[in-house]
Symmetry: C2
Subunit: 118 residues, 2 copies
């Protein structure tokens, strides 16, 4: 995870960097709000999932996309990539504690979606 820059204390205002955005909602959205990110985290909540399985669940997303998102989310410490020493080898993606902390509000988003027929 990138270091946060305290925008109260200095004048760095590079708005292309999510960490310098003034609004915490905006900063949060840049972490969790990307295309597919929320869904991926949601699918991971019940246990590790393997790459192809995840791609199938996220119907409509290409392999490249899924892989890109997974890499980003691993860098942000939302999930972990684990290579299983099975034969043939497999890779499982597992949610981290930080990732789990985001589930609270993803659950609310899900409820909001369903309640409002979105």
């Amino acid at each position: 995870m990138k270091n946060k820059i305290d925008i109260q204390q200095n004048e760095i205002t590079d708005f292309s960097d999510p960490c310098t955005l003034p609004c915490p909602i905006e900063r949060g959205m840049r972490i969790i709000g990307g295309k597919w990110k929320g869904s991926i985290l949601w699918y991971l909540k019940d246990g590790p999932i393997r790459f192809n399985e995840l791609t199938r669940k996220l119907r409509g997303a290409s392999k490249k996309m899924v892989n890109q998102r997974l890499k980003e989310m691993e860098e942000m410490d939302l999930l972990e990539r684990k290579v299983l020493s099975t034969k043939p080898f497999a890779v499982a993606y597992e949610i981290t504690d930080f990732g789990k902390s985001a589930l609270v509000f993803l659950e609310q988003l899900k409820d909001w979606s369903l309640e409002n027929n979105i």
Copy 2:
């Protein structure tokens, strides 16, 4: 707001249309998750705001962007555009009940951001 298509009952799977996405989290994200949308709604929660004021608050967003987002959000019934008959004329943007219903989880997102130093 677009009509929801019941994906349980038919086989329409146009994934470019948010409404046909299988995951409610993904559908919700397409409504509220865009760049600046969350912040705009958050700034509107304490009362109507005028265009230029909003643009100034959203430091880093261009007039064009703000206007685009406002139009989208008006179409989605998240907010209302009201022309005030003052001289010179002014425009105020006001949050709707539907918009207010999203504030619950935006608040959670804000807390999550602050708790995790995002």
